[in-house]
């Protein structure tokens, strides 16, 4: 383990040398959501007229929409007028040292093996200027600029590359797509923008770790990634630290555009505060993620979801062009009182399009885990293929696992396969490991990690290590 710990330390150190800045805007709008709120947000951000109009059209749409109620989730009513929509660049008090951090959070960091540098950042402790962060940032930006890659905050993109943003914003997830996407479109605070020019293979993995201010993007994040013809990019999102955010509602939108022969690999590890054993607190996570894959393009979603009280999330691929490929690899864990309703949508439009779905759901404590997936083959999608595998693992007798696949096929040449399994961690497996000297908890964590192997293999190495550790920590206390 010491080796992996060192690996993480090196990686984290590499990441955090890029420094970060703090948004000093302390404005907080009064609670409530009206057209004026939308205007206020847009005004604060000095946005162009077209973007304000776009936000307003989303707001208008949102007003006439209803929260989706089809998911297998029990959600206390959300008072949308009781929230403040310009609290996004949230100000946390800057702490003098790690000693000021909540011991429970520090304990969690230790368990995760997150190095001190990273801990400080997550805890909003002022980082001492050990490294010349400016020069490192410059090196990092220079490398990307040399390749022609644009990677910046969404606000910067609106300012510096308005034509690109305008062309693609809402092109994959329209403002009226669903209740939460409409809400996000109206009030999104910030997010990330990536642009990979034609023929470019992005020289490094792009991570929200790298991007300045990523910790402050708030409740309504907006991400847009555009990969031009023949380009390639791998994007990592998320963090493995518990974010004790008092903001309950999180509604993000991610749009991916993969042009001809381009490839986008999008990996997420999400561990927001899940709430306690009694279901008190925790993040409500309503996310719309979708990509459009053009001819011979490939979009791959990999997600490890262990946090949040509520997860409502279906990263999808529109297989628009011929021979486009869509992939979805998912590990979703629900323990305590967590509820996850997650899966994917694969929409086959082009001929010879293929999609594969590997979903691993783990339920523990009193968690409820639902896989909900749609495979849709349109009339135009000659010889479309899909393979779906949904495996559920139950730990204990008070949790639930549910699999709800929707398959709609309009073209008789399609081949759609669906496999599902439900299992428990066997007594005999635990006994076998314990006879070989492992504690019950170590054995459980090893078996569960093995169950998730196919998905972890899809993650970039540094993420896979963190995901494994995260899973072990999340499962603590689930044994016996």
């Amino acid at each position: 383990m010491s080796e992996t710990a060192r690996e993480i330390e090196e990686l984290a150190a590499a990441s955090y040398e890029y420094g970060f800045s703090t948004d000093l805007d302390t404005d907080i709008a009064p609670p409530g959501l009206t057209e004026d709120t939308v205007r206020l947000i847009s005004g604060k951000k000095n946005e162009p007229e077209w973007l304000l109009d776009w936000r307003l059209s989303a707001f208008e749409a949102w007003q006439s929409m209803k929260e989706p109620d089809w998911a297998k989730l029990e959600i206390a009513p959300i008072d949308y007028q009781g929230l403040s929509y310009w609290a996004a660049p949230k100000q946390k008090p800057v702490l003098e040292s790690m000693d000021d951090v909540d011991p429970e959070i520090r304990d969690m960091f230790d368990k995760l093996g997150i190095p001190l540098h990273e801990q400080k950042m997550f805890s909003n402790v002022a980082i001492d200027a050990i490294v010349d962060s400016v020069s490192v940032t410059t090196t990092f930006k220079a490398t990307l600029a040399e390749a022609g890659v644009i990677f910046c905050s969404f606000s910067e993109a609106v300012r510096d590359h308005p034509e690109l943003v305008r062309e693609h914003l809402g092109s994959v997830v329209p403002v009226r797509d669903n209740f939460f996407a409409a809400l996000n479109s109206a009030v999104f605070s910030d997010g990330s923008f990536c642009y990979i020019p034609a023929g470019v293979r992005c020289p490094m993995e792009l991570s929200t770790y790298f991007r300045i201010n990523s910790q402050n993007t708030g409740q309504f994040e907006r991400t847009l990634i555009v990969a031009e013809d023949d380009s390639h990019v791998s994007y990592l999102e998320g963090c493995t630290a518990p974010q004790r955010d008092e903001n309950q509602l999180h509604a993000a939108v991610v749009e991916l555009v993969a042009k001809d022969r381009a490839e986008i690999k999008y990996s997420t590890v999400q561990n927001w505060y899940p709430g306690d054993e009694n279901g008190v607190g925790g993040i409500y996570n309503f996310v719309t993620k979708r990509g459009r894959a053009h001819t011979d393009a490939k979009i791959s979603w990999t997600q490890v979801e262990t946090g949040s009280a509520i997860t409502w999330k279906y990263p999808s691929v529109i297989l628009q062009g011929d021979r486009a490929v869509g992939e979805f690899y998912s590990v979703a864990l629900s323990s305590k009182r967590q509820q996850a309703d997650t899966g994917t949508k694969m929409i086959h439009i082009g001929a010879d399009t293929t999609s594969s779905i590997i979903s691993k759901g783990i339920s523990a404590g009193r968690g409820q885990n639902t896989y909900r997936g749609l495979v849709k083959v349109l009339r135009s999608a000659e010889n479309a293929r899909n393979y779906t595998q949904c495996d559920s693992l139950l730990l204990g007798s008070d949790c639930g696992a549910h699999t709800i696949p929707y398959i709609e096929v309009k073209n008789p040449s399609a081949q759609v396969e669906h496999e599902a399994s439900t299992s428990t961690v066997g007594e005999d497996q635990l006994y076998y490991c314990r006879q070989r000297g492992m504690t019950e908890e170590d054995a459980m964590s090893m078996i569960v990690n093995g169950f998730c192997r196919e998905v972890f293999d899809e993650l970039p190495m540094e993420f896979a290590v963190e995901a494994q550790r995260l899973l072990s920590v999340s499962l603590e206390g689930s044994v016996g």
Binding site: S2, E3, Y431, Q435, R436, R453
Partner: protein, 260 residues
């Protein structure tokens, strides 16, 4: 080294072991033979600490009471069971499993853990012993293994764990003659003056390859006869009928199971 006295085990009130006595000295190999349902596997599980049994009596290893310990603590104390039906653990790399197992017991004993590179040498030596190919280490634990591969994997684990006491539960079942030879030569290579072994088997065949110092006959949860390896030959010719009948005729007769 291993001392078992009046060991009883039952499941849900149904007795399986009815007062088993056995002493195994350091460096000795004992074979336990017996008909189906006589309690052979239960004996192995009772020593390993499997849940679900009501256990009474005594079992000590080097004077340490095993019966109050968790299974992992018994493993750390040096108990190893080669299972009749090794379980599959999908997605868990064999090498990772082995190293985790070894380091778990090392940690429990207060020894330093072995790093990945040093472990490779340990694993390689063990692999040679059971004539395993290298790719074996990178496959998931027992997943998709043939019956013979599973049993060889048990011996491989034993070679890595270097236990004080190895209990091999029907390691020969389901093996063809080549696999049997490989498994047996692996076991023989691991015989040592510091290690005791209990070989549980149905058939005398295995004992042609692994020469036991003592043979015990287990019937209805008790050891009803003990002898040297010629006893196994006798069983081969006559079956267990003698002992089963004997037991029925004289159920109250006190039986001395201990061979040493």
């Amino acid at each position: 080294m291993l001392h078992v006295a009046n060991l009883t085990a039952s499941i849900g009130g149904t007795p399986i072991l009815r007062g088993l006595d056995l002493d195994v000295g350091a460096g000795e190999v004992h074979a336990i033979m017996g008909p189906n349902g006589s309690g052979k596997s239960t004996f192995a599980h009772a020593l390993a600490g499997r849940d679900g049994y009501e256990i009474d009596g005594a079992a000590t290893l080097d004077g340490v009471d095993l019966l109050d310990m968790e299974p992992e603590a018994r493993a750390a104390a040096g108990v190893f069971v080669g299972f009749q039906y090794p379980v599959e653990i999908p997605g868990v790399n064999n090498m990772y499993f082995l190293r985790t197992a070894l380091n778990s017991v090392r940690r429990a004993r207060g020894e330093t853990e072995i790093g990945a590179r040093d472990f490779l040498a340990v694993a390689q030596e063990a692999m040679d012993l059971v004539e395993m190919k290298k790719d074996f280490l990178h496959r998931a634990v027992n997943a998709g293994f043939s019956g013979g591969e599973k049993k060889r994997n048990e011996i491989l684990q034993m070679a890595v764990m270097q236990p004080r006491l190895a209990v091999l539960d029907e390691t020969d079942s389901g093996l063809d003659i080549d696999a049997l030879r490989i498994v047996a030569s692996g076991v023989n290579a691991l015989r040592s003056p510091e290690r005791s072994m209990i070989v549980i088997t149905h058939y005398q065949r295995l004992l042609e390859y692994i020469k036991p110092d003592f043979v015990h006959v287990l019937v209805d949860g008790r050891i009803v006869n003990s002898g040297d390896h010629t006893l196994a030959l006798h069983l081969e010719d006559h079956g267990y009928a003698d002992f089963v009948n004997h037991e029925l005729d004289a159920p109250e007769r006190p039986l001395s199971g201990a061979a040493t």
